[in-house]
Assembly symmetry: C2
Homo-oligomer: 192 residues x 2
Amino acid sequence: MAGRRQFDEEAVLGAAEGLFRAQGYGATSMLDLARASGVQRGSLYHAFGDKEQVFLRTFARYRERFLAAAAEALADPDPRRGLAAFLEIAIANMTAGPVRGCLSTRLASEGTQGNARVCDEVRVLLDGLERLLEEAATRAGAACALPPGEAARLVVTFTRGLAVMERVHGDAERLRESVASFVALLFPRRPS
Amino acid sequence: MAGRRQFDEEAVLGAAEGLFRAQGYGATSMLDLARASGVQRGSLYHAFGDKEQVFLRTFARYRERFLAAAAEALADPDPRRGLAAFLEIAIANMTAGPVRGCLSTRLASEGTQGNARVCDEVRVLLDGLERLLEEAATRAGAACALPPGEAARLVVTFTRGLAVMERVHGDAERLRESVASFVALLFPRRPS
DNA sequence: GTCAACTTTGACACGGCTGTCAAGGACAGG
DNA sequence: CCTGTCCTTGACAGCCGTGTCAAAGTTGAC
């Protein structure tokens, strides 16, 4: 029962992501992580150090994946469709799969109270997202009802709101309705 | 050191509100509540029963206050100004005073994981808010760029997003900028 | 085969939180 | 004054979480 490492680090980080997503950072214990990943608590401490390290590794992985998916969706030549595709990804991200909830929003809500480092990481993700959105809005030009900077911030804020509403109602369809209203507002179809 | 109740229940609920707001439900312990209110832990158990009861009393008080303030702001005959006033209240609610953060959003983010009862209470508040907003949007008529129902949901979602962004950046001015963009979008000034 | 390096595992000490309780003090009504 | 009722206080048992560590086992290299 020893020698070389017995567990798959990726699998552990995957399990950790699910837990952090559902319960947040503070409410997730090393024992939770151990149970969910099938790895002994001691082994986790040995391999990662402590919970904060597990989190940082988990979140870096998540962030990369999320931003890549967002960039791909926003690359659509039709900016309206790009935004809709991005928002659909955001919704799928928090409602599909066995574990619901948006990881970054869950963490953001814990604020600086819980762990300043966690909050910093979330800020990095949201800043990155805002940049992607601003680029897309710039490309959209006049089709977008707001200047690129304002539009980007508004979209970021709106997606955070979606994540909270998911927690409250757990209804993906309802979120899609809000998305449709929002997109219609930001990219009005011109009565040319 | 006994006889009649030694502490002011309102003061305890006020202290509890600050703690729940800053730390959420799960992360706030009876010991925290005791320290913040200056009342012994045992006395709190004696007077309220348990943490859930303290919370329910605290939140009912908060909800009444918040909805009353929202209704007053939205009563403005100019719907655009009413919405702006309401959003300003929402921002003040989460950035003014010694403790920052939005109570209902903080609680909502904990979702059903923490305590189903807590989530229910938040839903009641948000549903109440949505109704107020829908009435206001109905009164606004064509001035509002969306049908009343959609507008109301969008505003609720947006305010939740604002609360999350407050946690991340802690910058009230930034929130006001987003509000200005949002109001401009929902109540466009017509180039009559 | 031997050895060093590494991993796993269970155990430990420590501290925090919960919910309960008994002892004791204070107040109001009779 | 007396008595019943209520409140406060400190203490307790039980559970959970953390971080560390020594013992023991496995692997790969020489």
